[in-house]
């Protein structure tokens, strides 16, 4: 949950959709409050933070969708964001199941990740459906 420091409104990452079209969204480290429009600094690391993080600072386990994870993140698939059979059939038929270990290799122009010894490429919409529990980065 994010809290707007201006108006106090609490909102989830998904609710902060105003930034969805912005190409800087992955780097700017800010979120726009959906109620008042104020730009809140988040714990989400910006480009500097990401570079630092990749160097191997341990991060506590956190849950997020694959679409919000960073290159090099690894963890376990904890579930899907929707369980509607029509949506998850594609993933499950490819053999992507909760419980499997996953590693994110690339986010642009498509999300590339590895499960077991196989790599997959998916678009952002599908990446959003995969929920992961990140494990601490390796040194």
């Amino acid at each position: 949950m994010n809290k707007c420091s201006f108006c106090g409104y609490e909102f989830s990452d998904e609710a902060a959709q105003s930034c969805a079209g912005c190409f800087l969204r992955r780097f700017c480290g800010k979120l726009k409050c959906p109620r008042c429009g104020y730009e809140v600094f988040t714990k989400r690391p910006g480009i500097i933070g990401r570079l630092r993080k990749r160097k191997g600072n341990a991060v506590a386990a956190e849950h997020k969708s694959l679409a919000d994870s960073h290159v090099g993140d690894r963890g376990q698939i904890s579930g899907f964001s929707t369980y509607e059979p029509k949506k998850i059939r594609k993933l499950m038929s490819l053999g992507i199941y909760p419980g499997l270990l996953i590693r994110l290799l690339q986010v642009f122009p498509a999300y590339v990740f590895q499960v077991g010894f196989t790599q997959f490429a998916v678009d952002r919409e599908i990446a959003q459906e995969i929920q992961v529990t990140l494990t601490a980065d390796r040194p």
Partner: protein, 484 residues
């Protein structure tokens, strides 16, 4: 068939119990075990539900109740629960049967794979592949060197020989014309098929098979996914679209692998409209390569049309946004035998499925000529052609182009050699010709694959659109006064 139970328990006791109850209610015999049917019912398989509700009508309600009762015990849909439990069993089995090393070091092929996927390195690699694979090998070597060599052989040796043979053994002039002469099956149909199309399509299929065998195609797909999304397709469509540069007819057939009907329609339309096939491409490259600015204008114009029409179609056609998901097989060195098999299969397909259509086109042209229908059509087309700023002779090029894309292009080549066309006229003709026709073979496959209604709708759109675009292009060139 009796229930086939797996050696180790696969599902939890609740689901196992429900399965047994459903199995006992299934009366009719299926080819699959009752257990499999019960499982598919639990997972909500529509087809099986339909079959069971028709066959076991009496018990279907009871079965539905069991399914609903079972579902009530789980938060997630049974489809998910059943699959997850089965996957746990699979994982357990695999854990016992294999030993996996600690994370292996990225191999050489893995490093190459990364390079092909990152935009910074991937896009230059993609352009290099297109430049050397398509332009250098297919365009210059296949359509240039090989075609010249074979064509000369045909024109100097085979054609005169066939014409002499036909003239001395067949007394009727119309039959002579059907077989030999200017538009005969052998002199024109076979010559184009063997001397022009075979080397171009052949070289293209070799390149395509190599790209396919190395595992590069899915990487190409992920690179272009975002671009393709804007025209209502997804990255997967890169396969039919690239194949279109070889043969649009085959590509239209391959577009059936796209997931939704909406994507298949968009792909079919774009293939019919804006993707030049290798036969056209080869000849247009040969004509325009001496005029780099004209070539750039032609390519830029087509790209613009491709993106614009794709974008608008995607906006107008109802349906969901396509989604992109693909397994990335490891990159590997191409295997010679595989390449041979793949190229051979495609070539064989080409000759068995497409050659008859080519011969049919020859026959139709012959019919059109002898009955005078063509002269009439050409007369109607002439004012249209003139309005694009083109000479009368181009009308025939367009008409023949419909019967075979490359007939049109080859006809254009003949005109070009006489030197009566200016650069502007060449560009306008090349662009209109590329847009204008799905050749007759492609039209037939369009009807077969997409249905008559869609195919006709696409054709009705493409024909006037090509001429309007040609008109616009001519107008643009003349008002901007660009020197080509």
């Amino acid at each position: 068939m009796e229930a086939a139970v797996f050696k180790t328990p696969v599902y939890d006791s609740l689901i196992e119990k429900s399965l047994l109850r459903i199995e006992s209610l299934l009366i009719n015999n299926f080819h699959l075990s009752k257990r499999a049917i019960a499982l598919l019912l639990l997972q909500g398989d529509e087809e099986i539900h339909k079959i069971v509700s028709a066959r076991d009508r009496g018990n279907y309600e009871a079965i539905e109740r069991i399914i609903a009762d079972t579902q009530a015990n789980y938060k997630e849909p049974l489809y998910f629960v059943v699959n997850l439990q089965r996957q746990h069993t699979a994982s357990r089995l695999s854990d016992q049967a294999i030993s996996v090393p600690e994370e292996p070091r990225p191999s050489f092929s893995e490093n190459i794979s990364r390079l092909t996927m990152r935009p910074v390195t991937g896009i230059p690699i993609l352009l290099l592949v297109l430049y050397y694979g398509l332009y250098k090998f297919v365009g210059i070597f296949g359509a240039g060197t090989l075609v010249n060599y074979l064509e000369t052989g045909f024109e100097k040796i085979i054609n005169p020989w066939v014409s002499r043979l036909v003239e001395s053994y067949i007394p009727w002039v119309p039959v002579q014309e059907l077989l030999a002469k200017d538009y005969g099956i052998i002199t024109l149909g076979f010559r184009y098929a063997l001397a022009i199309v075979l080397p171009i399509v052949g070289t293209f299929f070799i390149v395509f098979s190599i790209i396919e065998d190395t595992g590069y195609l899915p990487r190409m797909a992920l690179l272009v996914d975002r671009l393709f999304k804007s025209i209502g397709l997804n990255g997967r469509a890169v396969i039919p679209m690239t194949l279109g540069f070889g043969c649009d007819t085959m590509a239209t057939m391959v577009s059936r692998t796209l997931e939704t009907a909406r994507e298949r329609i968009i792909a079919t339309l774009l293939l019919a409209l804006a993707i030049p096939c290798s036969a056209q491409l080869g000849i247009i490259l040969a004509i325009l390569s001496g005029r780099p600015r004209a070539l750039a204008l032609w390519a830029g114009f087509l790209l613009l049309v491709f993106l614009l029409v794709g974008y608008l179609t995607a906006k107008l056609l109802p349906g969901d946004r396509p989604s992109f998901y693909m397994e990335l097989p490891p990159m590997r060195w191409p295997n010679l035998k595989n390449i041979y098999t793949k190229t051979y299969t495609r070539m064989r397909w080409y000759f068995l499925e497409i050659m008859p259509l080519f011969i049919l086109a020859s026959v139709l042209i012959w019919l059109g000529n002898t009955t005078g229908v063509f002269q009439q059509l050409v007369a109607w087309l002439t004012p249209v052609v003139n309005s694009l700023g083109l000479p009368d002779a181009i009308a025939q090029v367009f008409l023949f182009g419909f019967f075979r894309r490359d007939y049109g292009a080859a006809g254009l080549y003949d005109l070009y050699k006489t030197g009566i066309l200016s650069s502007t006229q060449l560009v306008v003709t090349a662009a209109t010709l590329t847009l204008f026709v799905p050749c007759i073979a492609q039209l037939i496959i369009m009807i077969k694959e997409r249905g008559l209604k869609t195919a006709v709708a696409i054709a009705v759109f493409v024909f006037p659109f090509a001429f309007i675009s040609g008109y616009a292009l001519n107008w643009l060139i003349s008002i901007t006064g660009v020197k080509l």
